[in-house]
């Protein structure tokens, strides 16, 4: 059972590697934002997997914080990127 869960860590690590590749390649800033958002989800999955392997609840508050942190980051970058102007409110 534990070997199966540890192999899941390898799968998640490969996914994180591909996402870091997209963050470094990404032609636009919004590509990087999308990939960073998924990277936060991968980190949440990794922490949950570690908690499941060792059966402890120490890292559960970090999951709550991370699920809100990714939202704040991507929304603020998307809001202040060019093209997100609210044309109706500015007129």
């Amino acid at each position: 059972m534990n070997a199966l869960l540890v192999s899941c860590v390898g799968v998640l690590g490969l996914a994180a590697l591909l996402l870091v590749l997209r963050i470094s390649l990404g032609p636009t800033m919004l590509d990087r934002v999308v990939a960073l958002d998924v990277l936060v989800a991968v980190i949440i999955c990794g922490l949950a997997l570690e908690a499941a392997v060792h059966r402890h609840t120490t890292t559960l508050p970090i999951l709550v914080v991370l699920s809100l942190l990714g939202f704040v980051g991507s929304v603020s970058v998307a809001r202040f990127s060019p093209g997100s102007d609210d044309v109706e409110a500015e007129g």
Binding site: V11, L12, G70, G83, S84
Partner: protein
């Protein structure tokens, strides 16, 4: 949940552990598939299509697996809170990213099947990048 009958003479705890393992493995594989999609898809909107899989279904599967593994009511409540936050915040962030991407002219229009937004956007406010091709096919007939 087809792996739950792998423990033939297992107790309820064993069944819950197997269900947890199935949920965790499927969630991790879904995350890997989405990461491959994000790396290989051609523009922001198709990458967002791939990005929502681990953000919602993958994360929910992993959290359900952790809940099956820990089997504690307070812990399950906290995991439900994480899932609820993710379900509420992920569509808002995706909406704002897609909106900014489309209005900045970063969408590849040869990949769009239906485009109902270009006709109703005010064109003079568009921020077209100088290195991209001019938006000749975006002009309306009127």
């Amino acid at each position: 949940m087809s792996g739950a009958n792998a423990t033939s003479a297992g107790t309820a705890a064993d069944v819950a552990d197997v269900a947890a393992a199935v949920c965790l493995v499927v969630g991790a594989l879904l995350t890997l598939i989405a990461a491959i999609g994000i790396l290989r898809f051609p523009d922001v909107l198709t990458r967002m299509h791939s990005a929502t899989k681990p953000q919602v279904l993958g994360l929910l599967l992993v959290l359900a697996g952790l809940g099956f593994r820990l089997r504690d009511p307070g812990t399950v409540g906290l995991l439900t809170l994480v899932a609820l936050f993710q379900l509420v915040t992920s569509p808002i962030a995706s909406h704002m990213v897609g909106r900014a991407s489309f209005r900045a002219g970063q969408v590849r229009e040869d990949l769009l099947v239906v485009d109902e937004l270009t006709g109703v956007l005010p064109h003079e406010k568009r921020h077209d990048k100088p290195h991209e091709k001019p938006p000749s096919n975006r002009q309306r007939a009127d």
